[in-house]
C-alpha cells in the first residue's frame, strides 16, 4: 500500500516502508539508513541486537522486488559512523556491492558517513533530477527538495494507546523522509525545527505496519 502525492507536478508514491517511489524516473529514494548502529554501540558496551543492518537491508530487498527500479537515491547517513562499513558482515557487504552494480546508486554524503563506499556508487554531496534536488539536510531555499537527516516521527492515538511511528513530512516545496534504518529514533513531527523548515505548512504521513495514515 502506498500513497500517491503530487509534488512539483510529479507523481510520487510514499511507501509504507518509508521510501519514496518515483515511477516516471524508475527511482527509489531512501532516508537515513544508519547501518551498523548496533555494532557502534556495542563498542561502548551496549550490546544491542546485531540485526539492524540485516533488517534494514531485507526491507529494502522486499521493496526492490515489488517495484520496477533503476535508480536508488540514498539521502546520506547510510552508515551510523565512519568505520561502520568495515564492520558490516561479509554477506551484507557483498549484497551492497552487488546492489551498486545492478542499480544506479546515488550515494549522498551525510554527517555520519565516512569516505569508504562501494566502488560503483556515485558519491555526491547533492544531486538533482529535473527541478527536484536531493540533499541530506534540507537547505534554506525554495527549490523543490527531498531530504532526510531529521528522522521525523509522529505520535498518534489508537484505541486509547499512544504510539509513536516514523513519518513523512510533506510541504509545498519540500519533503522530509523518515529514517529508513531499523534502529533510528527521531524528532517529533510537531517540533519547532519542522515548523521553521516548512514555514508552518506541512502534512504528516505516518507509517503504520502495512499502510500510511495521513494525520490531519
Amino acid at each position: 500500500m502506498s500513497n500517491k502525492i503530487l509534488f512539483a507536478n510529479k507523481e510520487l508514491f510514499l511507501q509504507f516502508d518509508g521510501s519514496i517511489y518515483w515511477p516516471e524516473k524508475k527511482s527509489l529514494i531512501l532516508g537515513d539508513l544508519h547501518l551498523e548502529k548496533s555494532s557502534y554501540f556495542a563498542k561502548l558496551g551496549n550490546f544491542l541486537p546485531p540485526y539492524d543492518s540485516i533488517e534494514t537491508i531485507s526491507r529494502l530487498e522486499l521493496t526492490l522486488r515489488a517495484l520496477e527500479v533503476k535508480k536508488i537515491i540514498l539521502l546520506g547517513d547510510i552508515f551510523h559512523d565512519k568505520e561502520g562499513i568495515n564492520r558490516l558482515s561479509k554477506k551484507l557487504r557483498l549484497y551492497l556491492n552487488n546492489l551498486c552494480r545492478s542499480f544506479e546508486v546515488i550515494w549522498l554524503v551525510g554527517n555520519h558517513d565516512g569516505h569508504i563506499r562501494p566502488k560503483q556508487a556515485r558519491y555526491l554531496s547533492e544531486y538533482q533530477i529535473d527541478n527536484i534536488s536531493f540533499n541530506h539536510r534540507s537547505l534554506k531555499n525554495n527549490d523543490y527538495e527531498l531530504s532526510g537527516h531529521y528522522h521525523p516521527k509522529a505520535t498518534i492515538k489508537l484505541f486509547k494507546i499512544k504510539i509513536s511511528k516514523p513519518c513523512f513530512l510533506v510541504g509545498e516545496s519540500k519533503i522530509i523522509l523518515p529514517a529508513y534504518g531499523a534502529f533510528t529514533g527521531g524528532i517529533d513531527a510537531k517540533d519547532k525545527i519542522f515548523k521553521n523548515i516548512f514555514n508552518n505548512k506541512y502534512k504528516t504521513y505516518v507509517l503504520l505496519n502495512e499502510k500510511i495514515l495521513k494525520v490531519i
Binding site: G45, N46, F47, P49, P50, Y51, I163, A182, T184, G185
Partner: protein, 813 residues
C-alpha cells in the same frame, strides 16, 4: 517505665548489659529494655540470624542495635568497621543516624556512625572508603556500589553485624533481588557476620526470615506487642460519591478534623490526589492552619525543608503520598487521615503507625473513602485490622535483568569463577531455583551480548580465561556505576518557576499540554509556557480550573486478601452498622439483581441507550481486569458483536457492544486465555513497556539521568525498535524471556487470571436485567470520569448522567 525483663540471660551476658553505659543512660531516662530486645541480644550473641517482626514505634531500632552497641568494645578489637545497616528508604537513613547519635553522645560511647547514600559528597565517599566508620548506614544501591569496588572483600572483611531494615518493603521486588545477591556475596567474605532483619508485622515471619538468611541457625523474634489502633471511617453529612477519586465531598469535614488536632498527616494514593487535596484545603483555610504538601516528585530541598518544619512541630497538617509513609519518627503526629482506599492491610497499618509513633499511645486514624466501593474497602480493612489479619506479600522469583546487573558488578570488583558464582547466586531465596542454563545465558549476555547469529567478540565486556571472567576495560566499570539500580523511572523533567526548581514531572504529561494550559504542581496552579533546554518553564496562574496532573504509578494494586474481605463483607452486610446511603445501595442491589457470590462470579447484562452492557464483578484488581477487558473485547469482535468500549476498576469490569453477546456463561472459559491471549500479547505494547526497564536494568541501554538531556554517547533510540528486531531475529534471547516472564506476572497477572477463570468457570451467576443495577453505576460512571476534564460545563453533564443512572437503578420515577 520500669519494664524489667524476665528474660533469662546467663551471668556473663547479663553483666555485660548491666555494666554498659547505654543501660545507665536508659535508666536515667526512666526507661529499660523490653524482653524482646534482650532476647535479640541473646540470639545475636549466639550467632543466630534473627528477624524482628513488630509494628513501628515499638523499639525495633534499639533491638537491632543493642548487640553492636553493647559488644562494641570487644568487636572493635578485630576490625574497626563492625556494623552495616541497610534501609531501602533514604529519609529513614538520616533519621536512624540522628536517633542513634543521641544515646551514643550522651552515654559517651565513642562509636563513629556515618551514612552513605546517593546524596553523600564524593569527597566524603572517598574518605569513607579509606577510613570506614564503626557503623555504616546505607541503602541497597549504595551497598551494591560499595560491593563493586576492587577491594570490597577487604573493606567488609571484619564486619560482625548486618542489619536490614524495612524488609517487608523490599522483599519480592527487584531491589530485593539485588540486595539478596549482594548479601550472598558479602557472606563469602565476612563469614561470621550475623544478619538482623527488621520488618513491620507480616503474616508469615518465617518466610521473611528465610528470604534474607539461609543460615541453619536462625530465629524469628516476635515482641508480642500489639499497638492499639483506633480507626474509624469519616462521618460526612454529604453523600459518598458514586465514582471518582478526589474526595472533594469530604474536604470540609477533613478541614474541621485537622483543626481539632495538633498535627495530622493526610495520606493519599496518588500525587494528583495530594495536589488536589492540598489545594482544596487552602481554599477553605479560614483559620490559617499551616498546611504543607510532600511527595516524591518535589524538589529535594523543598522536601527537606518541609520535613524539618514537620519535625519541629511547626506544621498542622501535611498532605503526603507514600514518600512519607515509612519509619520516620515524628512523635508529635496525633492523627493520620487516609484519603482513598487502603489497597492493602500492611500498607495501611504502616501509614496509621505514623500517628503517636510511640509504643504506649494508641495510633489514631480516620479513613476517607472517595467512592462507594472504597467505602466497603475501608470497612473491610478496618475489620481485618481489628481481627489482626494481614495479607501475605506476593512472592516473586529473582529477575534475570537484575542478575545481569549483579554479574557485571561482581566482575567490576574481582575476577570470578562462573561455577562458584552460580552456586553463590543459588543460595539466595529469589534465585534458589535458577537453572545453570539460564545463568549461562545471562552470563553470556553480560560477556558480549549473548546473541546466537553474530557475536560482539571484539567488544566483550568481560575477559574470559577458561572459567574465570573479569572486566575487560575500566570504562565498563564507570558505566556500570552510572547505571546501577533497579528503579527505572518514567522519563521526568524539571519544572522551573522563573529560576526556582519546583521538582520533576513526567514527560508524557507535559507532552499533552499546550501553551497556557494550567496544572497543579507543588501546591501551585501553574501555567505552562514551554519546554526549553532547562526543563519545563511555567508561570503562576490565576486560573481556577487546572488540569490535574496524572502520574504513572498512581494505581496501587489491590491486595487479593483485601478484595476477598470486601466480597465477604458484602455478603454479610447486614451485620454492620452502615450509613443509610450504603445500606440502600446494597439492599437495592440485592433486590434488583443480586450480591456477588463469595465463591463465583456475578455477571449482569442490560441494555441502555441501544448498547448492550456486560458487567462482571471479578474483584481481581485493576491490572487483571484491564487484561480481561481487552480479551473480552476481542472475543466480542470475533462473534461480530461490535464491541464499543470497556472500563475496568479494581472491583469490576464493564464492556458494551452494539449487538448482544448471547452465551454469557461461555464468556469466561479457558479459551479466553489461550487463543485470544496470544493474539493480544503480540499486538500489545505491554511487552515493550516491560522490555524498556529490562533493557536498562540489564545494562543493554543506559539509564536516563533525571532531568538531564542525553549525551551523545548515550543510546538515544527507542527500546521499542530494539524489541521488535530482537523478537524477530532471536526470540529465545534471554532478555526476551526475562521481559515475557515479567510482563506475564506483573502487569497482566496471567497466573492469577488463569486460576480465577478455572475457579469461577462453572459458578457464574448471570442476571439478565432490564436496566442498570446499583453496583454497575460506579463502573459505568468511571468511563465518563476517565474521559472528562474538570471543565465546568462537562461536569454538569456528568452530574446528569449520574442522576439518570441512579433513577434507573433505584426505580425512582
Amino acid at each position: 517505665m520500669g519494664n524489667y525483663t524476665h528474660f533469662k540471660l546467663n551471668s556473663t551476658l547479663n553483666d555485660k548489659i548491666q555494666s554498659h553505659p547505654l543501660t545507665d543512660w536508659l535508666k536515667k531516662k526512666k526507661n529499660y529494655y523490653y524482653d524482646y530486645q534482650i532476647q535479640s541480644y541473646k540470639s545475636v550473641c549466639a550467632k543466630k540470624d534473627i528477624l524482628i517482626n513488630a509494628p513501628t514505634g515499638t523499639g525495633k531500632t534499639l533491638a537491632a542495635f543493642i548487640t553492636p552497641i553493647i559488644n562494641f568494645k570487644d568487636d572493635v578489637k578485630t576490625g574497626f568497621f563492625t556494623t552495616l545497616y541497610i534501609s531501602p528508604i533514604k529519609s529513614l537513613i538520616y533519621d536512624i543516624k540522628r536517633n542513634l547519635e543521641t544515646p551514643i553522645q550522651e552515654a559517651k560511647l565513642n562509636i563513629k556512625i556515618e551514612s552513605r547514600t546517593g546524596d553523600t559528597s564524593s569527597y566524603h565517599k572517598k574518605k569513607q572508603l579509606k577510613h570506614p566508620p564503626n557503623f555504616l548506614i546505607t541503602t541497597p544501591e549504595s551497598f551494591a556500589l560499595l560491593m563493586s569496588y576492587k577491594n570490597s572483600n577487604q573493606y567488609f572483611l571484619g564486619i560482625k553485624y548486618i542489619i536490614i531494615d524495612e524488609l517487608h518493603n523490599i522483599m519480592h521486588t527487584k531491589r530485593g533481588d539485588l540486595l539478596a545477591l549482594n548479601l550472598a556475596r558479602l557472606s563469602t567474605f565476612s563469614k561470621k557476620a550475623v544478619k538482623i532483619g527488621l520488618s513491620a508485622t507480616v503474616s508469615n515471619a518465617q518466610k521473611t526470615l528465610d528470604y534474607f538468611s539461609n543460615s541453619k541457625n536462625k530465629i524469628c523474634i516476635n515482641p508480642n506487642i500489639n499497638k492499639d489502633i483506633s480507626i474509624s471511617i469519616i462521618n460526612s453529612a454529604k453523600s459518598i460519591p458514586w465514582s471518582g477519586h478526589m474526595a472533594s465531598y469530604a474536604i470540609e469535614d477533613i478541614y474541621s478534623i485537622i483543626k481539632n488536632h495538633a498535627s495530622t498527616i493526610i495520606f493519599v494514593n496518588t500525587r494528583a490526589q495530594s495536589e488536589f487535596i492540598f489545594q482544596s484545603l487552602w481554599k477553605i483555610n479560614k483559620f490559617n492552619l499551616n498546611i504543607a504538601i510532600h511527595h516524591g516528585s518535589l524538589d529535594k530541598e523543598l522536601r527537606l525543608k518541609i520535613e524539618k518544619k514537620m519535625f519541629k512541630g511547626e506544621i498542622n497538617c501535611i498532605v503526603a503520598t507514600s514518600s512519607l509513609e515509612l519509619g520516620l519518627d515524628w512523635g508529635n503526629v496525633d492523627l493520620v487521615i487516609q484519603v482513598g482506599a487502603p489497597k492493602g492491610i500492611i500498607r495501611i497499618i504502616q501509614r496509621i503507625g505514623r500517628s503517636n509513633h510511640n509504643i504506649n499511645k494508641a495510633s489514631k486514624a480516620i479513613l476517607v473513602p472517595t467512592n462507594r466501593f472504597e467505602y466497603l474497602e475501608c470497612l473491610a480493612a478496618k475489620e481485618a485490622i481489628k481481627k489482626n489479619k494481614i495479607e501475605e506479600i506476593p512472592e516473586k522469583i529473582g529477575s534475570l535483568d537484575v542478575l545481569a546487573q549483579h554479574i557485571n558488578g561482581v566482575a567490576c570488583s574481582q575476577p570470578f569463577d562462573a561455577s562458584d558464582l552460580f552456586k553463590q547466586v543459588k543460595k539466595t531465596w529469589p534465585y534458589r531455583n535458577l537453572t545453570r542454563v539460564s545463568f549461562n545465558s545471562v552470563l553470556s549476555f553480560v560477556h558480549n551480548g549473548g546473541y546466537v547469529l553474530k557475536n560482539y567478540k571484539l567488544f566483550s565486556r568481560l575477559k574470559k580465561n577458561k572459567n574465570i571472567f573479569s572486566i575487560s576495560n575500566n570504562n565498563f566499570i564507570k558505566r556500570y556505576r552510572m547505571n546501577l539500580g533497579t528503579i527505572v523511572e518514567a522519563e521526568i523533567i524539571p519544572v522551573f518557576l522563573k529560576n526556582k526548581k519546583l521538582g520533576y514531572i513526567e514527560e508524557y504529561f507535559i507532552n499533552q499540554l499546550q501553551k497556557d494550559d494550567t496544572f497543579l504542581f507543588a501546591g501551585l496552579i501553574l501555567n505552562f509556557q514551554k519546554i526549553s533546554q532547562k526543563g519545563v518553564e511555567v508561570i503562576k496562574s490565576n486560573g481556577k480550573h487546572p488540569k490535574i496532573p496524572s502520574y504513572a504509578g498512581g494505581n496501587l494494586p489491590l491486595s487479593s486478601f483485601l478484595a476477598k474481605s470486601v466480597i465477604s463483607l458484602i455478603k454479610n452486610y447486614n451485620k454492620f452498622n452502615l450509613p443509610d446511603q450504603i445500606l440502600d445501595w446494597l439492599s437495592i442491589q440485592k433486590r434488583e439483581s443480586s450480591l456477588p457470590p463469595v465463591d463465583g462470579l456475578l455477571i449482569e447484562t442490560f441494555k441502555r441507550n441501544r448498547n448492550n452492557y456486560i458487567v462482571s464483578y471479578t474483584f481481581q484488581g485493576r491490572n487483571a481486569n484491564q487484561t480481561l477487558g481487552v480479551l473480552i473485547m476481542q472475543k466480542l469482535e470475533e462473534y461480530n458483536c461490535q464491541p464499543l468500549a470497556f472500563v475496568a476498576s479494581d472491583y469490576a469490569l464493564a464492556v458494551w457492544s452494539v449487538k448482544k453477546f448471547k452465551n454469557i456463561k461461555k464468556l469466561f472459559n479457558s479459551d479466553l486465555l489461550k487463543n485470544n491471549f496470544n493474539n493480544w500479547l503480540k499486538n500489545t505494547s505491554i511487552l515493550k513497556k516491560h522490555f524498556k526497564s529490562v533493557a536498562v536494568i540489564s545494562g543493554l541501554i543506559d539509564k536516563k539521568l533525571p532531568g538531564k538531556l542525553k549525551t551523545h554517547k548515550q543510546v538515544n533510540f527507542s527500546s521499542n525498535l530494539i524489541y521488535d528486531v530482537l523478537e524477530k531475529y532471536e526470540r529465545n534471547h534471554i532478555l526476551i524471556k526475562a521481559t515475557r516472564d515479567e510482563a506475564l506476572n506483573d502487569m497482566i497477572k496471567f497466573d492469577k487470571l488463569k486460576a480465577f477463570i478455572k475457579k469461577i468457570q462453572h459458578k457464574i451467576r448471570h442476571n439478565e436485567l432490564r436496566k442498570i443495577s446499583p453496583f454497575a453505576i460506579p463502573i459505568v460512571m468511571e468511563f465518563y470520569s476517565e474521559k472528562i476534564s474538570h471543565d465546568k460545563i462537562i461536569r454538569y453533564e456528568t452530574d446528569n448522567i449520574e442522576q439518570e443512572l441512579i433513577k434507573e437503578a433505584y426505580n425512582v420515577e
